[in-house]
């Protein structure tokens, strides 16, 4: 099906984001925004009353948390068992750590301004540049699981009391949840901004909606570029 389409209207495009990934991404995005707004009201109820009563903020937060946790599982299941590209996509390789990150940082903070090309060219097998890999790894394998776990503890305080005391107390748990939430919130503007660094500001964002990304115009680089060499 994908190949067929590629033949017709997607001649110069690659199918980068399969449907499960796109569903997960947008569920997650809306979920996180909802969690941010409701979480803000839960923590600062005297100042923030966007969602009406305190109770509705709590119910909404708990529901959105549930949705995000489920969509996280969907994401994890898809990459690990269906596409089987989890390790390849998300875990940085030795090469990436030694030179890849540096090269990417150099691009974003120096050569980008000089008008050079992005040294990384996304393909379905290697979607993320080394810098993205490291950040996504921290977020998807450390922060998301921890924020969900602390959230699950906070929704079951009485039954899990003994465990909560063991990990250092309710205050520590809520503090952890709050700071992790702040980190995820901080990731948002950076994430959205970086997404506008394509050839046109909306290029990457469109890809996340349709699944298709335009192939590089200077074809020879894609084939012989450092990306292939680095694998």
């Amino acid at each position: 099906m994908a190949e067929e389409l590629q033949d017709q209207e997607h001649q110069h495009q690659i199918y980068l984001q399969p449907i499960p990934v796109r569903i997960w991404h947008w569920l997650n995005a809306f979920g996180i925004v909802t969690l941010t707004v409701s979480g803000a009201q839960i923590r600062f109820p005297e100042y923030i009353t966007l969602l009406g009563s305190y109770k509705s903020a709590i119910y909404l937060h708990n529901t959105a948390g549930f949705v995000v946790a489920i969509s996280f599982s969907l994401w994890f299941f898809y990459y690990t068992f269906v596409a089987r590209t989890m390790a390849n996509l998300y875990v940085p390789k030795v090469e990436d750590l030694k030179s890849g990150i540096l090269r990417q940082v150099k691009f974003y903070f120096l050569t980008y301004f000089l008008g050079w090309e992005n040294p990384h060219h996304p393909t379905p097998e290697s979607k993320f540049n080394p810098m993205q890999k490291s950040v996504y790894l921290a977020i998807m394998f450390v922060m998301m699981p921890l924020v969900s776990l602390s959230g699950i503890f906070l929704t079951n305080v009485d039954p899990l009391r003994g465990l909560i005391v063991m990990v250092g107390g309710l205050k520590l748990l809520a503090g952890l949840h709050f700071l992790l939430a702040c980190s995820l919130i901080a990731f948002l503007p950076t994430h959205v901004y970086l997404a506008t660094l394509g050839r046109t500001p909306t290029e990457h964002i469109k890809t996340m909606w349709t699944g298709w990304e335009d192939e590089e115009e200077h074809g020879e680089e894609t084939e012989t570029g450092d990306l292939v060499a680095s694998r």
């Binding site: 109820p45 109770k55 929704t155 205050k171």
Partner: protein, 347 residues
């Protein structure tokens, strides 16, 4: 005018003493009554009065006959019924407030209070209070009806006195109770500690010294932190609850309990006044004041008392704000350079 009144009352009390002293010398004293009534074998379970508990109450200061006026020297041989003075005679304000509620048809004063074991609000635990209600309101029914609208109803019902929500008290005080780990489940449960439980830790010393190290009858934030970090007390934990500032008996349930604002949205300002309740030998409690604002300490003040919305710590907010601001460095800094160098990228 004032002096006149004082003189009058002085004469009056002298007169009363002259009249009463010889009379009561003949009548039975509290000790006589207790001679029979504190012995369950003598009078039976129904008429048994727990002497230890009674003598520590304020009611004991009045003696038995004040409330059982009709008792004669021949009691119990005279077979006469003994009268009980109505609570309302002495507790007019709280009493009439309660009698005006519809709940007065469901429960009398003595259904909730044993007149021989009364304690003030400050001398009882949340469990003692809820014990009164659970005689008629079965725990599982209450849990079921509250689960419908109250998230984590189990947590709230275990933590809070029913009357914090079911009276129109306008403010509350935070009360910390000491709990200890019991190995009932893998992770353990934390029932309220009794005097004897804590005596195991304090040994020779007073149990207050576990937390009030300098013995000044006040608990500072530093003392709280020391207690919470002391590995010798790893199995002791402070559990926080909210008790009405003063007792009301109207049993009304205000909307701010229903929409959670009374407790969670009242802001850190409402978390200032707090006490630590030490169990006493006779099963009651004694409160000690705690530093203002100790509940808002970031981590070690009260690691196991946290309420979303009102116990948030200011330093945590600042760290959070810095993290979030960090997220804007890239868009703003990079974005500016990107704008300035936009010509370089026109191919």
């Amino acid at each position: 005018m004032n002096r006149n009144y004082n003189l009058n009352s002085l004469w009056l009390s002298l007169l009363i003493m002259v009249l009463i002293v010889p009379l009561s010398a003949g009548a039975m004293e509290m000790d006589d009554c207790l001679g029979c009534h504190s012995d369950a074998e003598e009078v039976g379970e129904e008429l048994f009065i727990d002497e230890d508990k009674f003598t520590h109450t304020v009611h004991a200061e009045m003696g038995c006959v004040t409330c059982h006026e009709s008792v004669t020297d021949e009691h119990p041989d005279d077979g006469e019924a003994v009268t009980n003075t109505a609570c309302l005679d002495c507790h007019e304000e709280l009493g009439s407030e309660y009698m005006a509620t519809t709940h007065a048809e469901n429960a009398t004063c003595s259904d909730c209070h044993n007149p021989h074991q009364v304690h003030g609000l400050k001398a009882v635990s949340r469990q003692d209070m809820n014990q009164q209600c659970s005689q008629c309101h079965e725990g599982s029914d209450v849990l079921e009806s509250h689960t419908g609208w109250l998230p984590q109803a189990d947590l709230h019902l275990a933590k809070l006195p029913c009357i914090t929500c079911h009276t129109s008290a306008e403010n509350y005080e935070i009360v910390l109770n000491i709990t200890h780990k019991e190995k009932t489940t893998v992770a353990g449960s934390y029932p309220l500690s009794k005097y004897a439980d804590l005596k195991e830790y304090s040994g020779e010393k007073e149990i207050q010294s576990l937390i009030d190290i300098n013995g000044d009858d006040h608990i500072s934030l530093a003392e709280l932190r020391t207690f919470n970090r002391n590995p010798a007390y790893a199995n002791l934990h402070l559990s926080g609850t909210m008790v009405p500032g003063e007792v009301s008996h109207d049993l009304s349930t205000l909307d701010n309990r229903y929409d959670c604002t009374f407790c969670h949205a009242s802001g850190p300002g409402s978390m200032q006044t707090s006490f630590l309740a030490f169990p006493t030998e006779d099963g009651a409690y004694r409160r000690m004041t705690v530093d203002e604002g100790a509940m808002l300490d970031t981590l070690y003040g009260t690691p196991n008392f946290y309420m979303t919305g009102s116990t948030r710590s200011a330093s945590m907010n600042i760290i959070g704000l810095i993290i979030i601001c960090g997220g804007f460095i890239m868009p703003i800094g990079h974005g500016t350079l990107r704008f300035l160098t936009r010509k370089n990228r026109k191919h």
